[in-house]
């Protein structure tokens, strides 16, 4: 029911889409941002190790400061939910750096029925990126994100999607609109048994840029490909993250000369 009301509120907010609020756009990278974490495997079995790789950007501070990335395991508060993962008291350090390894305990599914174990449980990993300030140059900045690692006994665990290609449709020219096009591999969309019955993954394309202006930041795959208009700015860096809606994720980065 809360999701329903969230949609209502969002829809009402759409009604004022023509009214500018002056806040920043999510697709424009101007500060430290966590854009994604890829887990391999995307869905783990008990006792398995999961390799975690992060995509974190610091457009303003590149070359000026060290970006520190810290990993931790989170146990969310049952009432406050995943937002409680921002509280230090609910996390256990896992490591530092752009990548980390999570060792899934062999007994994490103990006590569950076979059906419950087949569906699995979620472990939560937090990645916190922080960058110190440089006096008179750039301020201190940081961002945190959390990722679910599904652990189950599913014989067909989820796989990460894969970006097949990501290219501008034409040569970027400053100030001109061009299409950015991308596609995922055929294997990126999987059939699965969801809580409401058989389902198929829908790919979500998240676009980011350090310059220029995107028409929008998120598009849906149709079903494997998508595109978005970009007012080009040479010298920018473009990022594309695709998600399968079940924790699977991939990305690609393009520098625009």
């Amino acid at each position: 029911m809360r999701v329903f009301w969230k949609l209502i509120f969002i829809t009402a907010a759409i009604a004022v889409a023509g009214c500018e609020d002056g806040t920043s756009e999510r697709w424009l990278l101007e500060e430290v941002r966590v854009l994604g974490v890829r887990a391999e495997p995307a869905e783990a079995a008990p006792g398995q190790d999961v390799f975690l790789e992060s995509l974190v950007v610091d457009p303003l501070g590149a070359g000026l400061r060290n970006l520190e990335i810290a990993w931790a395991v989170c146990t969310p508060d049952p009432i406050l939910g995943q937002a409680s993962c921002a509280e230090p008291g609910r996390t256990v350090p896992l490591g530092l750096g752009s990548a980390a390894t999570l060792s899934v305990g062999a007994d994490v599914l103990d006590g569950l029925t076979p059906e419950q174990a087949l569906f699995g449980i979620d472990l939560y990993v937090v990645v916190a990126a922080s960058a110190p300030g440089v006096p008179n140059v750039v301020e201190e900045d940081g961002e945190a994100g959390y990722k679910r690692i599904r652990v189950s006994t599913d014989p067909l665990p989820n796989q990460n999607p894969e970006v097949a290609w990501f290219n501008p449709a034409s040569t970027p020219v400053d100030g001109r609109d061009i299409l950015l096009q991308a596609a995922a591999t055929i294997e990126s969309t999987e059939d699965f048994e969801g809580p409401l019955g058989p389902d198929v993954e829908d790919l979500r394309f998240s676009w980011y840029t350090t310059g220029g202006a995107l028409e929008r930041g998120v598009t849906l795959g149709e079903p494997l490909a998508s595109e978005v208009s970009w007012e080009a700015e040479t010298g920018s860096t473009l990022f594309l993250v695709i998600r399968d809606g079940r924790g699977g994720l991939d990305w690609v980065v393009r520098e625009v000369p």
Binding site: M1, R2, V3, F4, L7, I8, F9, I10, T11, A12, A13, I14, A15, V16, A17, G18, C19, D21, G22, T23, S24, R26, W27, V34, V37, P78, I79, L80, G81, Q82, A83, A86, Q116, V127, E143, A144, G145, Y146, K147, R148, G194, P195, L196, G197, P198, D199, V200, E201, D202, R204, S206, R216, V218, T219, L220, V241, R243, G245, G247, L249
Partner: protein
């Protein structure tokens, strides 16, 4: 009540959004599907509810040419066996004025209001030989105020000539009759005056926002937040039946024509046993009987146009019009149990309707490509009322049908990034149709019997493209039966019963994505409620005490609630009074909360203990002050229990419910009022209050209630200028609502959205609200009709009042949503 909440919340925000001023869904109101309407008996010209000391005042422009005693009318040649006869006439020929109001006030403060009959006269069969203050007033005329002394032998006859009000000397009558029961706080607004208050936009029902005890609703909506209570804790009745929806789009304009209204009573607390199943307050709106004289009104402003017509339609049997009030022992009383009903020989009818036209205007004036959506809000309402001729036995009957339909659709062209699946058409529609009847019949035994049956249909539809939708339909039948009687001078009895059945059908769907994934729920259920109540009004000189009891039962839960109430009033003179009350008030959960599919059928009915003490003092003839201290304890409030993530049966959409919430509200209200004298009227209403809630599922113990407003101040004044001009001004201040500001966000990597990190629950506040409104009227009086033009401007100095907080995508930046910077409304009104 659920629909009123939903409709109000969405409607207010959607309409504001249409004018591109930024919006957030405001608190909304929905009708309580399990509530039982309370019927009120057929209205007679005298107040039907037991009255303590109604006080009516009217002042006339001093006019040396007028006299309370003019040339006698043909009917006033002798007493005709009556103690008192007063006739209202006009013009050189002494033309009788039917339908004029005659107000009599006895030395002890008791009073009665009577309407003249077809011959322009009222006749009192029995009346104590005392001095009375009399006011005679009629629409379009200058009222007269004078004193009479009824002789012991009776037979007093007075003829009063009223001069037609012209543009230069028309008077606006403010008649505020406090028809309180002892201990009860009841604030009465006369619709004709309320219509012209600044900021009302010509809508009398919006005038209650100027009274103490009512907090300001977000975005200028009409949510009734009474003494720190939730909007759904206050019930609204129209002629005794609960009205499904009071305003269009949550507050733009009311669904009932102001011209139909006889009175608007606002009871913020301590109300009697007639009203039940409400934790906080009651708004009791009464329509008036149709008049025999044919008349019509056309009204139009920038939002909508309305029409109103009334008059006699059928002939019928019945005696000539006679006084509406008389005492069983000759004493003046307003007790309807001893009243003779107003009698009319003809059937009379009222027909009224309104239609908005912003959906026609907006596309014509705003280029299509400047809007990212296609907006078409529209609303309409209608009212029909038929009053049958009074029977020889004195039975009065009327039937009424009314309804409303609000709709708003737009095409989602650009869904937001974090809900990219949102496509298609957004549809919002709420409508209702209600039919009800009112029957009053005096019995030979002295009892006055009344009955109010009603049936209603209501629907709410919300669809968000193909992603989600919600349909809910209500079909309701209700009835109330009451009997009243005076037993001697010092005791009045009231017994009554009401019942309601409600059939609810709702359908909910939500597409999670993919070709086959969806959630859908379809359910229907029946609920019912019934009550019996009784109270006695015991008079001992200046002291009146009213013990009462009410019992409510509910189906299908078989729960029963018991509400004893006690009130007292001490009024030794017309100068001052004191009152106190203590009572229990239950309100059942709404149908959805009790539904076994989505709620908890084991829920108990929440209840409130209300108590208060207050009084009033009159300074001279025209100024009075009232003050009241109140305290309200709330218990067994329905709260959501956290879902157990480890419970496979736990729904991902619906949280379980229980009764572990508690609340408290306390404060002070002051109303300083200056009644109309020559040219100036106004009042200052101030409320100081605190409202808190607590639940074991929220950390930190007591926290501010989301509608808590510490200070609420309203000051308004009106001034009558020469040549038909009138100006009014209103200044309002209200503390901002508590809110939970976010202190940043954390990124959900898999869902690609940011989750807010909330601060202390309701630990912050939206900045305070303050606003100045003005209204200017110009009236022209012609031979057979009257024309009025008005300009109503809200927020004259363009204060950008914050209404809510919004954030950017990662909750690192925030900004305030503000209401409309200014809202001018120009309108005209023709009365025929």
């Amino acid at each position: 009540m659920a629909i009123r909440k939903l409709a109000g919340r969405l409607g207010a925000a959607i309409l504001t959004a249409a004018i591109c001023a930024g919006s957030e869904l405001a608190a909304a109101q929905t009708p309580d599907p399990s509530a039982t309407p309370t019927g009120s008996p057929e209205k007679t010209p005298a107040p039907e509810k037991p009255v303590a000391t109604p006080v009516a005042t009217a002042t006339a422009t001093p006019d040396a040419a007028s006299s309370p005693v003019a040339s006698p009318s043909p009917a006033a040649t002798d007493g005709g066996g009556y103690a008192l006869t007063i006739c209202a006439v006009t013009g050189k020929e002494g033309t009788p004025i039917p339908g004029a109001a005659v107000i009599l006030v006895a030395p002890d403060g008791s009073a009665a209001a009577i309407t003249t009959g077809e011959d322009g006269c009222i006749r009192m069969p029995r009346l104590p030989a005392l001095k009375y203050r009399v006011t005679v007033a009629a629409a379009g005329s200058i009222p007269k105020d004078f004193e009479i002394e009824v002789p012991a032998a009776g037979g007093l006859v007075r003829s009063v000539r009223l001069d037609i009000a012209t543009a230069s000397n028309e008077e606006t009558i403010i008649v505020e009759a406090r028809r309180e029961q002892p201990g009860e706080t009841r604030r009465v607004i006369q619709p004709e005056i309320a219509r012209t208050l600044p900021g009302s936009q010509g809508d009398a029902l919006k005038a209650i926002q100027n009274l103490p005890g009512l907090a300001r609703a977000q975005f200028g909506g009409a949510a009734l937040i009474v003494r720190g209570g939730a909007p759904e804790d206050t019930r609204v009745f129209l002629d005794g039946s609960e009205i499904p929806q009071l305003y269009h789009f949550g507050g733009l304009t009311s669904v009932v024509a102001t011209e139909m209204l006889q009175s608007i009573d606002f009871l913020p607390g301590g109300f009697g046993v007639r009203y039940g199943r409400a934790l906080s307050g009651v708004v009791d709106v009464e329509t008036r009987p149709a008049r025999e004289k044919k008349s019509a009104i056309i009204d139009a402003d920038i939002f909508d146009a309305s029409a109103f017509a009334e008059g006699a339609v059928f002939g019928g049997r019945g005696e000539d019009p006679a006084p509406a009030v008389t005492g069983t022992n000759g004493e003046l009383t307003s007790d309807a149990s001893a009243a003779e009903p107003q009698r009319s020989r003809h059937g009379r009818m009222i027909a009224a309707g309104r239609r908005s036209y912003i959906d026609f205007i907006l596309p014509q004036v705003v280029p299509e490509d400047t809007l990212t959506l296609t907006v078409a809000p529209r609303y309409y309402d209608y009212q029909l009322r038929y009053d049958a001729p009074t029977t020889e036995a004195g039975t009065n009957t009327h039937v009424m049908a009314y309804g409303s339909d609000d709709a708003f659709t737009f095409l989602i062209k650009e869904p937001p990034d974090d809900e990219v699946e949102l496509r298609g058409t957004f549809l919002y529609r709420t409508l209702f149709h209600q039919a009800q009847a009112g029957i009053t019949k005096p019995l030979a035994s002295g009892w006055l019997l009344s009955a109010t049956p009603a049936v209603a249909y209501q629907s709410l539809i919300i669809e968000v493209g193909d992603l989600a939708g919600f349909h809910i339909d209500f079909t309701r039948a209700s009835a109330r039966v009451e009997a009243r009687k005076s037993l001697g001078e010092n005791l009045r009895l009231l017994v009554g019963s009401e019942a309601e059945t409600l059939r609810v059908r709702y359908e909910f769907f939500f597409n999670q994505g993919g070709e086959t994934s969806s959630a859908k729920a379809v359910a229907a259920y029946d609920i019912a409620a019934g009550s019996v109540y009784s109270q006695a009004e015991i008079l001992r000189g200046p002291l009146t005490i009213v013990p009462g009891v009410r019992m409510d039962g509910y189906y299908p839960t078989s729960a029963v609630s018991f509400d004893p109430r006690f009130a007292a009033r001490y009024e030794p003179s017309k100068t001052w009074f004191a009152k106190a009350y203590l009572g229990q008030y239950h309100q059942p959960p709404d149908g959805r909360q009790w539904d076994k599919n989505v709620g908890n059928p084991d829920l108990r009915a929440p209840y409130a203990i209300q108590t208060g003490i207050g009084g009033g003092y009159r300074f001279g003839e025209n100024t009075n002050v009232e003050a009241e201290l109140f305290y309200k304890w709330l218990d067994d409030l329905v709260v959501e229990r956290p879902r157990d993530p480890g419970d496979p049966n736990s729904s991902s959409f619906i949280s379980p419910l229980d009764n572990r919430g508690i609340g408290r509200a306390f404060g002070m209200e002051i109303l300083l009022k200056r009644e109309l004298t020559e040219k100036l009227y106004g009042w200052i209403a101030y409320t100081l209050s605190k409202s808190e809630r607590a639940s074991p599922y929220e950390p930190g113990g007591w926290r501010p209630f989301e509608f808590d407003q510490t200070h609420i101040l309203t000051a308004l004044a009106g001034y009558r200028l020469p040549h038909g001009w009138e100006a009014g001004v209103r200044m309002r201040y209200a503390t901002g609502n508590p809110d939970t500001f976010n202190k940043g966000g954390i990124y959900d990597i898999d869902q690609d959205e940011y989750v807010p990190i909330p601060g202390t629950p309701y630990g912050d506040r939206i900045p305070a609200f303050h606003q100045l409104d003005i209204r200017v009227d110009k009236n022209w009086q012609f031979d057979t009709w009257k024309l009025g033009v008005y300009l109503d401007i809200q927020n004259v100095y363009l204060q950008p009042n914050p209404e809510g907080v919004e954030y950017n995508f990662d909750y690192e930046e925030h900004y305030y949503l503000t209401g409309l910077p200014i809202l001018p409304s120009i309108g005209f009104r023709g009365e025929f």
